[in-house]
């Protein structure tokens, strides 16, 4: 196992200890941190590894949130609803991917962006099932109190993060990851050496949606109420990209660190500049792209990190 991946597992293990040190606020922050890391790591599969700049993360986050939300509202336990949300997201993404990933560059970005809109409207209009614009209430399971609830959801999100990290590492070590890397570098040549690029891209897109959908489901259960504009928010697509850019594309460890750093920035900004927090986020993005295009990783000891960066 590469050093980078090892560090990642250590980092994640470290995060697991959070409940020992924090109260409700720290737990909430920790849960969001795990969620952000899941989104960023998942995006990296299709965006960093395969080289297709997807803006569809929010679409699948919302999809997962609603699938799980509807199932939970009908009495299914969490242990069933989340995996179903994840698997369904995988399938929908893989199918759509076969069509959408034929597009390159800008066109793919736009198409993936539009998915958010389309999914949101579909959910909005399926009022009987989803409550439409009124939102969906998800019942609280018999809970043992606020702290226990908070801890529970933290660990569920954390567990999902661990699963995502394992998936990402498995992909990067596998033939799939190697193939995606080929596709990123030269899709024509990849086809020419016998790689079924459509299949690989679809799987990558599916994997990038799967844990995102799961995270959406956990989010829905955690906050107990979701509505379309809340979960189908374009920011859920853009933030993971910014996190990946902060940390350095392609490296799971970098991307995860990027997620945590981003969350830190977001919290600081939110607490101090609440009225202009999105503006400040914008400034961060602009500065980041102007001065650190290769992410924080490029600031470190270049050679070593570059070797462990890609597949």
């Amino acid at each position: 196992m590469s050093r980078s991946n090892l560090f990642l597992l250590v980092l994640i293990a470290g995060v697991a200890a959070l409940p020992l040190f924090g109260e409700a606020y720290a737990l909430r922050l920790g849960t969001i941190a795990c969620m952000y890391a899941i989104l960023a790591l998942s995006w990296n599969v299709v965006g960093g590894l395969a080289g297709y700049p997807s803006f569809a993360t929010a679409a699948f986050f919302g999809l997962g949130a609603y699938i799980a939300g509807v199932l939970l509202a009908r009495g299914m336990p969490l242990a069933g609803a989340i995996p179903i949300a994840g698997i369904d997201s995988f399938l929908v993404a893989a199918l759509l991917g076969a069509a959408l990933l034929r597009l390159r560059g800008h066109y793919f970005a736009i198409a993936s962006l539009s998915l958010i809109e389309v999914f949101r409207e579909l959910v909005n209009n399926a009022t009987d099932l989803t409550g439409g614009g009124m939102g969906l209430n998800i019942p609280l399971a018999a809970s043992a109190g606020v702290m226990a609830d908070a801890t529970f959801f933290f660990y569920v999100m954390w567990g999902l993060l661990l699963a995502t990290a394992v998936m990402v590492m498995a992909v990067s070590l596998s033939k799939l990851g190697f193939g995606l890397s080929c596709i990123r570098q030269n899709e024509t040549a990849a086809n020419m050496v016998g790689l079924n690029t459509t299949l690989y891209k679809s799987i990558a897109f599916g994997l990038s949606a799967c844990f995102v959908g799961g995270a959406g489901g956990v989010y829905a259960a955690w906050v107990h109420y979701i509505d379309p504009s809340d979960v189908f928010d374009i920011l859920y697509s853009v933030k993971p990209i910014v996190m990946a850019l902060i940390g350095g594309l392609g490296s799971p460890l970098g991307v995860t660190i990027g997620a945590f750093v981003y969350l830190g920035l977001e919290e600081v900004v939110w607490r101090n500049y609440i009225q202009i927090h999105s503006g400040v986020l914008g400034v961060i993005i602009v500065l980041l792209l102007l001065f650190l295009p290769h992410g924080l990783m490029s600031v470190r000891v270049r050679q070593w990190w570059r070797r462990t960066k890609n597949v």
């Binding site: 736009i110 539009s114 910014v242 009225q275 999105s278 914008g282 993005i285 602009v286």
Partner: protein, 288 residues
């Protein structure tokens, strides 16, 4: 609804859509940048018109003349100082960059103007005209004519002025343009400035018809996208074709399925076109 009414509505709306999209299309076609600030520029233009009218009773028609150079400079500066540094970077970076810039602008507008909807109501109101059974509000009609005039101005610039020819050259083949001695960086800034000016002017016109709020910027942006994909990038005729097609489909769809689905329809159409005919009705293949 009368078929003729639907058609006329679509015609009017289509020209407005074209006006919204033309600046966006220009920037995408020439700089290969998807300018996510476009929607906010439009809203800013609307605010400008509103402020000028509320504060100084300056009619929106004059506001057009004021808006154009102001927005041109704004766009020119943004491109030259910030955007140009990442102009050669992949889609991901430029898209995220304009997203960040848009966050700044949009947040600034919300902070300054607050998010409530405002309306620019002309006194005295312009009323509407009715031919046979078809009703058209006069302000929309006039705005449509103005929108067409704007697209006409752009067309003339691209056709007749030297700088316009240079812009077209860069759009068709950047490297060849460089070899011909065109200062591409300058052209990029000028094109972006033009795009911003067109957006600002479109915003002035929109102020007459639609309510104004920073929250509407994504709606305008969304329309611009769809129009570009439907009609093809970088050309005035493409924007017109796309605008008319979109308005027609929305109108018919609205009549058949109800107005709530209009947006979904347009985005679903977007995806269909992207998959089947990414260059749009009139566009050239190869703009990635």
């Amino acid at each position: 609804m009368l078929a003729a009414q639907i058609l006329i509505n679509a015609l009017v709306l289509g020209c407005l859509y074209a006006c919204i999209a033309i600046g966006f299309s220009l920037v995408w076609g020439v700089l290969n940048v998807i300018n996510l600030i476009h929607g906010s520029f439009i809203v800013l233009g609307a605010y400008l018109a509103w402020s000028l009218y509320q504060g100084f009773h300056i009619s929106p028609w004059y506001a057009l003349v004021i808006a154009a150079p102001l927005f041109f400079v704004l766009g020119y500066v943004i491109q030259r100082v910030i955007l140009n540094r990442v102009i050669t970077a992949p889609v991901l970076v430029t898209l995220t960059m304009t997203f960040g810039l848009d966050l700044i602008l949009n947040n600034a507008m919300i902070y300054y103007f607050k998010a409530d909807y405002r309306k620019l109501s002309l006194t005295p109101p312009m009323g509407s005209v009715s031919i046979f059974d078809v009703v058209v509000p006069i302000d929309r009609l006039v705005a449509t004519v103005a929108a067409l005039a704007l697209t006409g101005v752009l067309y003339l610039i691209l056709r007749r002025l030297r700088v316009g020819r240079a812009i077209v050259a860069v759009r068709l083949d950047r490297d060849a343009a460089v070899l011909m001695g065109v200062d591409v960086n300058s052209i990029y800034a000028i094109a972006f400035g033009l795009g911003a000016a067109l957006a600002g002017c479109a915003g002035v016109l929109m102020a007459l018809i639609f309510p104004i709020s920073p929250l509407t910027s994504t709606a305008y942006l969304g329309k611009a996208f769809v129009v570009c994909v439907l009609g093809g990038l970088g050309s005035v005729s493409g924007a017109l074709a796309g605008g008319l097609l979109l308005a027609l489909i929305e109108g018919v769809g609205s009549a058949m399925f109800g107005p709530a689905h209009a947006t979904t329809l347009s985005f679903a159409l977007l995806i269909v076109f992207l998959i089947l005919r990414p260059q749009g009705l009139l566009g050239r293949k190869g703009f990635e």
